[in-house]
């Protein structure tokens, strides 16, 4: 490409100069909070093109492997990275890029790359790729490492419909037996309905599994039509070693409550049933998915957000799918709160949520030692004065830690066993 016309070249240079100024101004707005970070007394810098550090990555998501090593998946640019830490997040290994070919990845509190582990120590990574063609289009992506995270296999698409449409909000879960489950929100049935001239509200919940450590995945199976289309899905192991799913669902076209189902490696065991009856009549995107852990008696601890006729705010309840009843219902928090997350070790139940008071964002913790019948007074376990991600809980043996990414402090791993003081 050679430009002999000097005027043309001059015009281009001028245009670039103007664009450059605009870009710098826009960049300042966008990155004003990413320039300096303070962590453990040190000041870390995330430059305009960020370093590969987890602290500068988008939506870092953590998990402990069976040896207690902390792994994290996160996104920088159009690459998913994985790194590990053997000192509770003080230092991380050199990050390894999972996708050799760059691709756009959904990174928000509700929809984020995840890391889990196969029965032979395989490092499993999943995410939702942003696909061009429509505003909600996406594919469910999966890759794994069989050499301890040194290298990753070529990325695969898990949704098997071959349609360019919306497949998003994947969840990755490995049960005690080592079977891998993935569930996500899928609009293939909406495409079919539209082709046939029928209306279709929302998405559908689909899932698949792998019994061979992620070498192959089963044919995609539909769990339910008409799920809400913008909230994360909660998965938890059933007392029989299968997987329970809890997700926001659309009932009667405009009621956004929650559905529940139990899924196995040979199909749906407990078909979708309505778990929460808050009667939230709304045609909107709550962007606020639920959380769930299995109780010691095989029932389920749930926490969710609703602005229903029956109740408004963040709630906790224990759900028995056999009776369809939620007991121990407890109002966790009202306005200003959000994105609760549950974890359980033994008989200790941890519930964290985010709270903004107008000045700072805090993570609050409440503990129950009687299966959610009563809750200890809430304590603040972390805070920040700037942008922050959703709080996540991760556990290893009897230890539960808060995993929270904030733009000022980076990724913090805070053990909750002696929770109470602000860190």
């Amino acid at each position: 490409m050679v430009y002999r016309d000097n005027r043309k070249l001059l015009f281009m240079l001028m245009r670039n100069f103007v664009s450059g100024i605009l870009f710098i101004l826009a960049g300042c707005i966008h990155t004003v909070h990413d320039t300096k970070m303070h962590m453990d007394g040190e000041t870390l810098a995330c430059p305009f093109i960020p370093a590969l550090s987890v602290n500068c990555g988008r939506t870092p998501t953590t998990a402990y492997d069976k040896n207690g090593r902390l792994w994290v998946s996160y996104v920088i640019g159009e690459s998913v990275y994985v790194a590990y830490s053997d000192d509770q997040g003080k230092q991380y290994s050199e990050p390894v890029k999972v996708n050799a070919k760059p691709e756009k990845v959904y990174t928000n509190g509700e929809n984020r790359p995840k890391v889990a582990f196969g029965r032979n120590g395989e490092i499993l990574v999943s995410w939702t790729q942003e696909v061009t063609g429509g505003p909600f289009f996406g594919d469910i992506r999966f890759s794994r490492s069989t050499d301890g995270g040194k290298t990753f296999e070529p990325v695969r698409t898990v949704n098997d419909d071959g349609l360019v449409t919306s497949h998003r909000f994947e969840t990755l879960f490995v049960n005690t037996a080592g079977d891998i489950f993935m569930a996500w929100l899928d609009k293939r049935d909406m495409v079919a309905a539209q082709t046939a001239g029928r209306e279709y509200g929302g998405a559908a919940l689909y899932y698949t599994w792998s019994k061979d450590n992620g070498v192959t995945f089963a044919k995609n199976i539909k769990v339910a039509d008409y799920s809400c289309e913008c909230c994360r899905i909660a998965l938890s192991e059933t007392q029989y070693g299968d997987v329970a799913a809890f997700w926001r669902h659309i009932y009667n076209k405009t009621t956004r409550d929650h559905g529940f189902a139990e899924l196995a490696t040979d199909g749906v065991v407990t078909p979708a049933q309505r778990a929460t009856v808050d009667n939230w009549q709304i045609d909107a995107c709550p962007h606020h998915g639920p959380t769930m852990v299995t109780a010691s008696d095989g029932t389920y601890h749930l926490s969710w957000f609703t602005l229903g006729e029956a109740r408004k705010g963040i709630f906790y309840g224990r759900y028995n799918p056999e009776t369809g009843v939620i007991d121990n219902m407890h109002a966790v928090a009202a306005a200003g709160a959000g994105h609760s997350y549950l974890a359980r070790t033994g008989n200790k139940l941890y519930l964290v949520w985010k709270f903004f008071d107008g000045e700072k964002t805090t993570i609050k913790l409440s503990i129950s030692v009687d299966e959610g019948a009563s809750w200890q007074p809430e304590t603040i376990v972390a805070e920040t004065t700037d942008a922050s991600d959703h709080p996540l809980l991760i556990s290893y043996k009897d230890n539960v830690s808060l995993s929270w990414h904030t733009s000022k402090e980076g990724l913090r791993i805070i053990p909750l066993n002696q929770a109470g003081s602000v860190k």
Partner: protein, 160 residues
């Protein structure tokens, strides 16, 4: 000459990268003090404040209604605030244009601390979208979550 070619190629590539930045000029940067600015601008007038996002399907449906309303009642004051970040500016512009809303007062979240911006709009709002506020001439307002209906919009127009 080779160097010039290379430089031109880099410049061309940068033009491509800069498209979203240029598009940002179509929207005003919404910060924690921006609502006050908006309320001041429309003081004494009835207006509709709409919070929306690219990834919110009901928001797109609502924009269909708003586009129609704006066509039939060009005098209606509509302010739209996208809760997306700057990387979505080109999509926001396209979305507004496709619904005949390119002339409206459009804002875009310009702080990564989303909680702070949301709180500045309404401490009682949990972030569900679309979120609408109907402002009366006396600056009182009602907040409505979820897609507006034609009935609500008609009611608003009657009272204007």
């Amino acid at each position: 000459m080779k160097t010039v070619t290379k430089a031109v190629a880099i410049l061309l590539a940068s033009v491509w990268l800069l498209v979203p930045a240029i598009a940002f000029a179509d929207h005003q940067a919404f910060r924690a003090d921006s609502l006050k600015q908006i309320e001041k601008k429309y003081a004494g007038k009835s207006f509709l404040l709409v919070l929306w996002e690219i990834s919110c399907f009901p928001c797109h449906e609502e924009m269909g209604l708003l586009g129609k309303l704006k066509q039939e009642h060009p005098q209606a004051n509509i302010v739209m605030i996208s809760t997306d970040d700057i990387s979505k500016t080109a999509e926001i512009t396209t979305m507004l244009e496709s619904h005949g809303l390119s002339s409206i007062d459009s804002w875009l979240f310009a702080d990564t601390n989303l909680e702070k911006l949301k709180y500045s709009i309404d401490p009682e709002w949990f972030g569900e979208l679309p979120r609408n506020y109907i402002y009366d001439v006396d600056a009182s307002r009602i907040g409505l979550s979820g897609k507006l209906t034609q009935e609500i919009l008609d009611e608003w127009l009657k009272g204007m």
